[in-house]
């Protein structure tokens, strides 16, 4: 199955993957839509990163996802590559999949056995490896609960240049306030690339829940998240210690910016 092709074509050229037949799904109208369905936002599997980043509903409701998609590759790549493909390519640093992880997104997979919604986190099998099998399955859409007026999302990314570069670290935050906007009811943090897949620092998320975004709590949460993450020392991305420290700083900044509204 072929969508944007920006990952598959180089893989075919290098012989990493083989295919006798490619089926392009991007012409299917139903897969080109971004729409609201009850309290979900649903993004078709042929929707490109550029379309997600420019969509009024996404820009208004889910800023983290719009920002993440605006950082994938280059303008030309964003005009071709799809958000669903960003999940299926299963890279832990994927700027589209990281916010989707913070949003607890699901992906609709259709196989001869039928269609099912699967949490995107359950599709990862390892670096670059997905449980979704493009030889016999199609992803139709990704969806997540519409964040609504009590929710906030944030995205961060640190890279050597402003454009056309993979992140040294990236991350997304989702926060749902209680009815009175005094306590955090639900918090999710996704970090990359600090594991073989988008990573939740679970203890840091629990620290946020039932708390408020006080400067003290932000410090504590950011420190805890950096402790839980396990980035590797990498000649391109820097040392593990440096990258942990950058997670602490960038996550704290993002939480501060959410606090400021």
């Amino acid at each position: 199955m072929l969508a944007g092709g920006t990952d598959l074509i180089p893989q075919l050229r290098q012989g990493d993957k083989l295919a006798d037949l490619l089926i392009d799904i991007t012409g299917i109208k139903e897969l080109q839509l971004i729409h609201e369905q009850e309290d979900w936002i649903c993004i078709g599997a042929a929707v490109t990163h550029a379309a997600v980043a420019a969509h009024p509903l996404i820009c208004k409701e889910v800023r983290a996802l719009a920002e993440g998609c605006a950082h994938v590759g280059s303008p030309q790549i964003r005009n071709m590559a799809t958000l669903a493909g960003n999940v299926i390519n299963a890279r832990p640093a994927a700027d589209g999949a990281i916010p989707l992880t913070a949003l607890a997104a699901e992906i609709n997979i259709v196989s001869p056995a039928g269609a099912r919604w699967v949490p995107i986190e359950d599709t990862y099998r390892g670096v670059g490896l997905s449980h979704i099998d493009p030889s016999c399955e199609i992803a139709k859409a990704v969806r997540f609960k519409k964040p609504g007026s009590r929710a906030m999302t944030g995205f961060f990314r640190m890279a050597k240049r402003k454009a056309l570069t993979l992140p040294i670290i990236n991350g997304a935050v989702y926060i749902l306030w209680d009815q009175s906007f005094t306590k955090i009811e639900k918090a999710r943090i996704a970090l990359g690339p600090v594991a073989d897949r988008p990573f939740h620092p679970k203890r840091a998320e629990r620290l946020l829940e039932n708390g408020d975004l006080t400067p003290e709590l932000i410090l504590e949460v950011a420190r805890q998240a950096a402790e839980e993450a396990s980035p590797r020392t990498n000649i391109v991305r820097g040392s593990d210690l440096y990258r942990k420290e950058m997670i602490r700083i960038y996550l704290a900044r993002t939480l501060h910016s959410l606090r400021a509204g």
Binding site: G5, T6, I9, D24, T26, G73, S74, P75, M80, L164
Partner: protein
């Protein structure tokens, strides 16, 4: 040997029908089958932008694009920018501002810049830089290219 397929599309304003290999990439269809060598092959992995063309109004990479995706599409290459009256305003501006040195990135740059101006006729420098961020140039240092795009936008708006 891959099967042959027929692709119908609009190229630089003219309807084309062409038989080609099913596994052809768009860049090879343009360069090898149609002899339009203005579209350059650089990295062949989607990083340098030299192969940029405009497809249905969007800048895309022809080196990552199976030729079959062109079916029914409207495609513009650098050969389609000038018309009988002369060069496109962007091309003239690139010449005037010294935005062309070795020239290898120029066709891709021009098409990324055109895709920008078609949507945003008065971009600021940051918007121009962002629009050409997927086009690598190892000669100019980009300043002259950004200047050329902005001057072309000014000239277009005064016309």
């Amino acid at each position: 040997m891959a099967a042959l397929i027929k692709i119908s599309f609009t190229l630089n304003g003219a309807h084309r029908e062409i038989w080609t290999r099913a596994d052809r990439l768009l860049v090879d269809l343009l360069r090898e089958d149609l002899g339009l060598t203005g579209t350059k092959k650089g990295c062949e992995q989607g990083e340098c932008g030299a192969c940029t063309v405009i497809m249905n109004g969007e800048a895309v990479l022809s080196c990552l694009m199976p030729a079959q995706k062109a079916e029914g599409a409207e495609i513009l290459t650098v050969e389609g920018m000038a018309d009988t009256k002369g060069l496109h305003v962007l091309q003239e501006s690139f010449l005037k501002e010294g935005a062309v040195q070795c020239g290898y990135c120029t066709p891709g740059m021009l098409l990324s810049a055109k895709a920008l101006l078609d949507k945003n006729p008065q971009p600021d420098s940051a918007e121009v830089a962002r629009a050409i961020s997927g086009n690598l140039c190892r000669c100019t240092g980009y300043a002259s290219i950004i200047r050329a795009v902005k001057k072309a936008a000014e000239k277009k708006s005064n016309e």
